[in-house]
Structure formats: C-alpha cells, structure tokens
Symmetry: C3
Subunit: 134 residues, 3 copies
C-alpha cells in the first residue's frame, strides 16, 4: 500500500525529521517484517538518515553541502537552482529501511529526514513497504 | 523477474536517460504496486535520478563532480580511473523507485539516468521488481 | 528473515569487505530471486559497493573523503565527529543488491564494504531479503 505524506519546509534549506510519520504509515501497512521504501518525487529535495540527538549534526551537514556545492559557480541551468539538484543527488532521493515487528529498525541515534534544498515548498514523501515474512 | 538492459555510452562521462527502458521492463514484470530496483553491476558507473527537462542540469552535475573529484590528484590506483570509482560511490550504483499502477511513480521533472564515468563502454543495467500489492 | 552480522573495525576509517558474509546470510534466507537489503543502524558508518580487486581503490576513496570533509572545519557538533556523520550520508547507510539463483548479482570487480568513519568500533549490519520470484 503506497502512502503519501505531505511535508512543508519553511526555509531554503532544511532537514526535517519525518521518522514518526513513517512509523505511522508503517502501522497502516500492517507488514511485520520487510523493507520500507521512502522516496521523494522531487529533484531538489532528498532523504537523509542521520543523528537526531544533537541538532548541530544537521546544521553541520547543511553547512558542508553549502560549502562543497557553492551557490554561485558558473552553472548553466538558468533557473539558478543547480546546487539544489546536485545536493539532492549527493544525499539521494530515497532510503530503504529494515522493518521488524511492524516498526522501522533504526539505530539509537538514527532519524529519517526530508532534506529540503530549494524551499520553502510543500513536498510529497512516498512510503511503501514490501514484506519478507513469507 | 530480473531483466537486463544494455546501454552504450559514447564518451568518457555522460548521463543517459533510461526511464522509458525501465518502464518497458516494468510492463514485462506485470507488478501493479511495489518497488522497482535499478542496479549497475559496475564500479565506474552509477544511477542518478534527476531533472530531465533542462539538459543543463546534467551538464552542471557532471561539471561539479569533475571539479570535486579532480582527474589528477596523487591517486594510488594505477589504472588511472580512481575518480570514476569515487564518483560512482558518491551518486550510488542503484536506485529504488515506487511502482503504482504498473508504472514508475516519478516526479514531473524526474528522469532515471545511467551515469557513465569511465566510458565509452557498453554497460548493463539490472531491473527487478518486488510487489507490495499483497 | 532479518539477519544481523557483527563487524569489528580496527582503526578510525576503514573499508571492510563483507560480501562473503552477506552471501552466507543469503543462503539462510533461501530466496531464489529478489532484492537483498544491507543496512547499518549507525550514523557514522556506511555501506559502499566498489572494486575489490585493487585495494588502492579503497585507499583512494577514503583519502578523497578525508580531503573533501576535513577533520577540522568549525563544526558545531561538540562530539567532534561531524565529518564521520557527513561521510556516512555521502556514501549512504544502505545498499540494495539484486539476487538471482540465491546469490548476489555483483559485477566481476564489485565487493560490498562496511565503511567505518569513526572507529574502531563493533558495528551491526542488518541483512534482509525480499523475493521477486512470484
């Protein structure tokens, strides 16, 4: 069962945690064991899995991406958001996560984030689950 | 049903759209809802999902990768294609994409690309589909 | 059937091949055709698929990551391992690999690696398989 989550970003670049919303979608799917697929059908946003204990980890990640992919760098794409496209490809637009006992198997410090690189916008996250429980 | 697509690159570095060929493989697979797995069994090529409207987005992405991973940089790997291996790891060698109504669920501007980093070569793309439709 | 592999790294940054251990887990899973999901529930480690013929490829990859994400760069995260978090996001914390005839479909030169960025530590790798063989 494919489910869609709507997430609104409030600024240009942002990591917004969506772990709880994915677990809520998982409860609907009723799959005990399998793989959860989280996907953004966008080209200037991505999915990141990383530490959700200290928010400074997200700050550092966005700062590194900004430095590595400068806003102004003789890009050809006239729309001006080439850096957002490149960042989306670097972090990736999907995650696959293990499901056990009907829940995401995440590490103690892992959270799942929608990575906004060209906001603010309303984004869609597609959640789907395939079962491995026979 | 695992299917194999052959793609020939014509130059050293190239993003070639394969969205239509993946959708054709999907029609063969006859899965209404699930996850489509696209994979390259190569170490100097990758899979990228990004904008297919303005070709300048692909140009900018390849240019950024070339700058971030310089061709000459005291690499140890004697074959000389270490940058291609690094770029393949940065973009990734696979994609997982949602399937609904027997087709890829892509955003309006999303296309799926074979990323060649050490061409020209003939490459294999492996397409497989798992169902989530019960 | 979700399986867990334990891998101990012996230094701060390291790529350790785990291909054989994943194939051993696959034999337990008894899935002829499908997708194998390899996942680390950690925020400073990742999964890399790349050449396992010349070990210099791994050396070059770790050296590039070290240069691209410097150890000291005014990070906010007080624990001091922000570079490890960023590297984990760049390479990704999971891989999805095709399974055919009960085995991983890898290219001639492909190996699967646990990427340690904040070791030495004992890490867990989660292996799960979903079937596409009907």
């Amino acid at each position: 069962m494919i489910q869609r989550i709507r997430v609104s970003s409030s600024t240009g670049q942002q990591l917004q945690e969506i772990t709880d919303r994915i677990n809520a979608a998982l409860r609907q799917a009723n799959v005990s064991e399998g793989i959860c697929h989280v996907y953004v059908p966008h080209t200037t946003a991505g999915i990141v899995v990383n530490e959700n204990a200290d928010p400074a980890v997200c700050v550092d990640m966005l700062a590194w991406l900004d430095k590595a992919v400068p806003q102004d760098d003789h890009y050809r794409h006239a729309e001006g958001n080439s850096p957002a496209h490149i960042k989306a490809t670097l972090v990736g637009q999907w995650a696959t996560l293990p499901v056990e006992g009907g829940k995401l198997v995440l590490g103690t410090w892992q959270g799942v984030y929608l990575a906004e690189f060209d906001g603010p916008r309303e984004r869609t996250v597609i959640v789907n689950v395939v079962r491995s429980d026979g």
